[in-house]
């Protein structure tokens, strides 16, 4: 935490945007191919995941692409994209309809839907289709002393709660683990303002060797030689900081998803390994 980090927070717009709790959905017959070509069927995406939360492990579940907490979306395609381009991790969410009306949660990331954490008591009252509004705040956020570093989709309060240091005019961000660029996979085809990128967990031995299989949902991670400013690409001496937002996958080219929050040249952006760099601790999330 740096008390004097200068931002343009007072110039940012705080705007409401609504989504609806999704229903778990499958394409008939529901199977997906795993790394060995076998057909498997797993829950995890969409809806309300009652027992997997930010702070829990990303690997090892009998699930695929597990989205912790509540996943919301809009069936109107242009609203879907507004949800993805404007909602920021750390934003406040307010339930607008149903049994949990009025309850408040917090955005913990973005996969194919926006992911929101609510406490256990609230989860039990939420129904598929309930409307949840998010107070989108953070789009356009800049570090005034680091114009070369691009910030993506984090609430200004999350930035203030993260452990940051300035050493030799370089911003140092606490992260749990460094991921090698060669394992970055699905998501490279998308613009870097939209959803996430999966790390490819197919080489199980490497996952174990590098302790990537111990990653937790909500972990801050770093990828060296990754430039995520205008897309997701390999670029020497560029650094991207991201949050692990969904669980592991059995599909080739897939694995836990990471959502970019900072990207820039290594001259200005660096990292420090700390196992405390997880959203659950940073945002003081209550289960």
């Amino acid at each position: 935490m740096i008390s004097n980090i200068k931002t343009n927070e007072n110039k940012l717009i705080k705007m409401s945007i609504g989504g609806y709790v999704t229903q778990p959905s499958f394409k008939n017959p529901g199977y997906i191919p795993n790394n060995d070509g076998q057909s498997v069927i797993f829950p995890g995406m969409f809806g309300v995941v009652n027992n997997v939360k930010v702070g829990d492990r990303a690997f090892g579940w009998a699930g695929d692409h597990i989205e912790p907490g509540v996943s919301i979306d809009s069936e109107q395609i242009n609203e879907h994209f507004a949800l993805h381009y404007l909602v920021c991790t750390g934003n406040k969410a307010i339930i607008r309809s149903g049994g949990a009306k009025g309850k408040v949660g917090i955005v913990t990331g973005e996969h194919a839907r926006n992911l929101i954490h609510f406490d256990n008591k609230t989860l039990e009252q939420i129904c598929v289709g309930d409307q949840i509004d998010i107070l989108a705040h953070g789009r356009g956020l800049k570090l005034l002393d680091f114009p070369e570093i691009e910030i993506k989709k984090i609430d200004p309060n999350l930035l203030k709660s993260m452990k940051l240091k300035i050493i030799n005019k370089k911003l140092i961000v606490d992260v749990v683990i460094e991921l090698p660029i060669k394992i970055m996979g699905s998501g490279a085809e998308l613009n870097s303002e939209y959803v996430d990128q999966d790390l490819m967990s197919g080489d199980r031995e490497l996952m174990k060797k590098l302790k990537i299989d111990q990653m937790k949902l909500g972990d801050l991670i770093v990828i060296n030689h990754a430039d995520h400013k205008w897309g997701r690409s390999f670029k020497k001496n560029h650094v991207s900081i991201a949050i692990c937002i969904h669980g592991d996958s059995v599909m080739t080219g897939h694995g836990p998803g990471i959502m970019t929050i900072m990207t820039g040249n290594k001259k200005y952006l660096g990292w420090n390994i700390s196992k405390n760099a997880n959203l659950k601790k940073i945002l003081k999330i209550k289960i």
Partner: protein, 292 residues
């Protein structure tokens, strides 16, 4: 001399809109728009509930593209939305009819133009978190048909009699003297020209910083009443020597070329029958009682 109108003949009609969502194009379209230098940007734009920007605030400096202060509404189908857009007048009273903020009172402060076509309303900041996307808001519209006695050549647009009566307009030697904060030359009017003047917005062009300085436009505020020279909005928006138009600043500046602060036109005439009078207090917040 005070100016009379046909206020007692106007029809008061209820029109409804729902609080609308921000929208973005779907893939494979890129989410970025281009600024006036050709650089891509991605910032919040029109629509929705904006919690921290209100009429009376600066129209410049926000990390935003033509943001609407307060709350924006739309009717779900096009013809109904056209009804909402044409009949709503700046200064009309609005009431929230559903949700947690039900019965809260607001005021129409502007309209937005082509591609969004929303009506912009002020509600107190402290109740905005209670307002939900899709909440219904009813406007008691009155103002379409407004005529000014002895100035029959002046077209009133989107102008409630309530606001007109507070604008401190006077008749001096058969000219309307209208208090405004800024005079804007016609060459700085951009997006909106050629479109209808019964709804929608016109935008000031802000790309040329020396012109901005020359006409002191950098201190424009949301809600300011402004005067446009040589501009005729009697039917559609277009250039005409000696014509004039009065408008209100409805939305903020944006980075795109031709898209500076938006103006909702309130009055216009082809005749040389009005004179602007510079007055820094010519803002809707000083004319209509607002709860901040």
């Amino acid at each position: 001399m005070k100016i009379d109108t046909n206020e007692n003949l106007l029809v008061n009609v209820s029109v409804m809109g729902s609080v609308c969502q921000p929208n973005f194009q779907s893939l494979p379209a890129e989410p970025y728009r281009l600024d006036s230098n050709g650089s891509p940007f991605l910032l919040p734009s029109w629509g929705s509930i904006v919690h921290n920007v209100s009429v009376g605030d600066s129209a410049f400096g926000w990390e935003a593209d033509c943001i609407h202060p307060g709350v924006s509404i739309k009717y779900p189908n096009e013809a109904g939305n056209r009804g909402l857009n044409i009949l709503s007048c700046v200064g009309n009273d609005a009431t929230i009819m559903s949700g947690e903020a039900k019965n809260a009172k607001g005021v129409v402060t502007g309209k937005s133009g082509r591609f969004s076509e929303q009506v912009i309303l002020h509600f107190p900041k402290k109740i905005r978190e209670k307002i939900s996307i899709n909440d219904k808001i009813l406007i008691k519209s009155i103002g379409v048909g407004l005529k000014i006695k002895n100035f029959e050549d002046v077209f009133c647009k989107s102008l409630s009699p309530k606001l007109f009566n507070q604008m401190k307009i006077q008749n001096k030697n058969n000219k309307m003297v209208i208090p405004v904060t800024h005079i804007i030359p016609e060459h700085l009017i951009g997006a909106g020209s050629g479109l209808t003047s019964e709804s929608g917005s016109l935008h000031i062009q802000t790309t040329d910083s020396s012109e901005m300085k020359k006409y002191k436009l950098n201190n424009l505020k949301l809600g300011n009443i402004i005067y446009i020279e040589n501009y005729d909005s009697s039917y559609q928006h277009g250039f005409l020597r000696n014509a004039w138009a009065i408008g209100i600043i409805g939305q903020t500046n944006g980075p795109r070329a031709g898209y500076g602060p938006g103006i909702t036109i309130l009055m216009s005439s082809k005749k040389n029958n009005a004179k602007p009078k510079l007055d820094s207090r010519a803002n809707i917040v000083n004319y209509i009682k607002f709860i901040k």
